[in-house]
């Protein structure tokens, strides 16, 4: 067994184990931390694949940015997080996910099975089975990737579109998550009320709640205080 093989097995155990914990652990904060571990493992795969650039990007983007976002989201919504493991359909979900994995394993696994005259398994594709099939590591692949991304004849246009997508996502995220204040908030509340009344008379109208309740209480109090001072 080569060193790489041992590394691979260790990394897969880490990745899959922490992934399982991500989707099963009760504590969401722990789930976010296991997600980080899992991302690290995936970065390890990239190193094994001689894709150092992607390993770095994985660490920066996934661990440095996305995981932090998750942790923030978890902490912001901490007061309503329930300790339940799964929803009412978790058994069915587990069965379906398992069956899908079995189907994929049947197609990719290192064996050859014939079911009703059709061959399954990867054994008839020797390339995938060959432990030494990996080709020589490309030299300056980051450079080639970089030129390819800015070359209009290769991926220039998609690259620009990706940039636009990021911009739009950033603006959209700010827009969606912003706190409504003043007249805007009143209008939104009124619209929600009217829509609810129109669409579903049975549903009680839910007032939009501020993210941090104390803040509005304080604001309310200070307004009251100001009013009292005037008197």
């Amino acid at each position: 067994m080569t060193l790489q093989q041992i590394l691979f097995i260790v990394i897969s155990l880490v990745v899959l184990g922490s992934a399982v914990l991500v989707v099963t652990t009760r504590n969401l904060f722990h789930a976010a931390l296991f997600l980080v571990v899992s991302f690290f493992g995936v970065a390890g795969f990239y190193v094994l694949l001689d894709a150092g650039f992607f390993a770095a990007a994985q660490v920066l983007v996934y661990i440095g940015a996305i995981s932090i976002l998750f942790i923030f989201a978890v902490m912001l919504t901490r007061d309503v997080i329930t300790a339940q493991r799964g929803n009412s359909q978790w058994q069915a979900a587990a069965i379906v996910a398992g069956v899908i994995f079995l189907i994929m394993a049947l197609l990719l696994g290192p064996f050859s099975v014939t079911i009703r005259g059709r061959e399954f398994g990867n054994a008839n594709w020797p390339f995938a089975m060959d432990g030494n099939a990996i080709k020589a590591a490309p030299g300056n692949f980051v450079g080639i990737l970089g030129t390819g991304l800015v070359d209009l004849n290769q991926y220039g246009v998609p690259f620009l579109l990706a940039a636009v997508l990021l911009l739009v996502a950033m603006v959209g995220a700010i827009w969606v998550a912003r706190e409504l204040r003043g007249r805007e908030a009143e209008r939104a509340a009124a619209e929600t009320a009217v829509d609810d009344a129109d669409m579903d008379a049975n549903q009680p109208v839910q007032e939009p709640l501020p993210l941090i309740e104390t803040e509005t209480h304080e604001a309310h109090d200070s307004r009251n205080a100001a009013a009292t001072e005037k008197h």
């Binding site: 009412s88 359909q89 058994q91 069915a92 979900a93 379906v96 189907i103 197609l107 399954f120 129109d198």
Partner: protein
Amino acid sequence: MSRELLGTLTWLAPLPPLLSFAVIVLFTNRYRQISSAIAVVAMLTSCVLSFVVFFNAVGIGNLGEDPIRGIAYSFIPTAGSTFNIGVAVDPLGATFMFMVPLACSLIFIYSTSYMASDPLYTRFFAFLSLFGGAMMGLVVSDNLLSLFVFWELMGFCSYALIGFFYRKPSAYKAAVKAFMTTRVGDMLLLLGIVYLYTQTGTLNFFDVLHNAKVLETLAATPAVLGLGISAAGLIAILIFGGTVGKSAQFPLHVWLPDAMEGPTPVSAMIHAATMVSAGIFLLLRFFPLLQVGGPDNTAFMVVGLIGAITALLGATIAVAQYDIKRVLAFSTISQLGFMVAAIGIGAYGAAVFHLLSHAFFKALLFMGSGSVIHGVEHGHEHVAHAHGDEHGHAEELDHDHGAETASAAPAFDPQDMRNMGGLRKRMPITFYTFLAGGLALAGFPFITAGFWSKDEILADAFHGLSTGSLISTIVFIVLAFSALLTAFYTARQISMTFLGEARTEAAANATESAPAMTFPLIVLAVFAIFFGFVNVPKDFPVLGALFGPAAGWLKSFISTQLVELQAFKEEAQVFNAIPLLTSLVVALGGLGLGWLVYGQKPLKAGQTDPVEKLGGLFTFLHNRWYFDELYRVIFIKPLQAIADNYSRVIDKGVIDWALEGLYKLGVGIAGALKEFDRVIITGGSDLIGNTVRSIGREGRELQSGQVQNYLLSALIAAVVLMVFFLVLAQ
């Protein structure tokens, strides 16, 4: 102008409205005037670009064989080739590039005034721009895929605009209805696209439809499922399914009348310039597929029959409606039936001609009716104010008008023609333009566009009849009768709305609309009158000679489209007096009958409509042949019942029964075996039982609104399909 430049202009033509949608939504949605100005200017720009392409295209002799093509961009790489998206203008597309932007621009201008007091003014213009841009994109598309994308975009816009007054329950219900009904047709269309792609490996119109070899192969291939028709026929019928949904043909016509819930410019947009024309446009595009099966083939029969049924259905219902816009809605359905029936008898040129002339006069009629509604609403507000200000006077008035004002007061309907009358004097411009549109719709001889286009269809149908074609015979008789009804209900509508004395105070105080609303009416009235002269038959007595070489221009221009199929080209027709006499008789007869019943003695206030004397027939027609009720009984109720009883039938009936059997079996075996076995078997069946029970519990809530639930259902379906294709299918 070089072809390359024209191709580039064709690329650019749909862009301004699409860009204006983005600009309005993103940047100017707070500024009403700027937004509407952007929308109007963008549409006018698109109009100018299209006109440049159109007038250049007209000068190209062999446009049919060699259409203007823009650069095609490779869009989706497929295994062996790439899928190219491009634009093209052939004679059919060129005529649409004239009509669509012109009608859209006028509707935009009209809307600036009509919607002026609406709080969601900018949103309206954003959607209107997207709607117009999508239609332009659809017209210039050179392949079925991008056409389908724009087609769906229009579906979305119609949803958003029909439900524009979304606070009103009837409006959002109408929006959902329109969306769901057209979806049925779109599904068929998508199947047609997929089938066409599997058969030919391309979706480009010119590779399929201008290629005699491909067409003949398609015609020679028998269709799947052993339907007994050719692949060409089946594809044509599936694509026609899309038309049935989009162009509101029987049996999917039910959405169009409800689409009246949207603002009136939207109705004009849907009924004239965009939605319904798109359906017919698609069918016209795929005319070669119909044609390749020869005259009177199954596909032609289906199209012709559906068209004839729709024409008759729409015309009869329109006779018994009171809502001014609903009359027009059913007349649209009926006129679309005319076009589809014309395609069904192979009268390609006549269908295009009628589509164009109909677009002009129906846009005119809709905007005219909008102007009427606007005027009556103003009159109503005026009256209400007067009542509030001078109480004593109001009492007097109330006394004069008796019960009518009192009954009308709680819910005054400004669209009800019974509340109108005498508007001729109050709204002269609207009246004369509406009259022009109405006469065109009725097919008033010689001086209206509607006459020439309808006559063309009847002439072609008669030609088919004389050669012994069954479908042509049916179409000729049904369309002649529908045309009679059309003239009658047009006369009824004009008389009830404009003639006689005002039947309500609101009508008496109605005011003429602003110039921004009347200007488009005047322009369209000109087209409604004179557009017919682009296609006066060559051998028409006197007039044909008068027009000389210009006679029959549209038809000869359009027919170059079908150049690849010389073998199927219809032989030159000889002029025949019978269809001409028929169209004269039905148009004048219908108008005369309407005049006798309504025009001579206009309705007095409170008098019942003479049509109501038809009794049961009237009720039947007024309730639109009870189609909505029928669909409720046939489709909606059973589906609801299935959904309601799903848990009872499946969960309790099937699963529990099976489980109980399994369980009993397990207990039985276990009782016979040792303790050890019993634990395993009972435990096993319990596990199965619980799992199945939980799946059943999920199944009960199939329509749960929960994303995770939907994902689970979709994945279960995916697993079933995977197993099927990997293992079971051979």
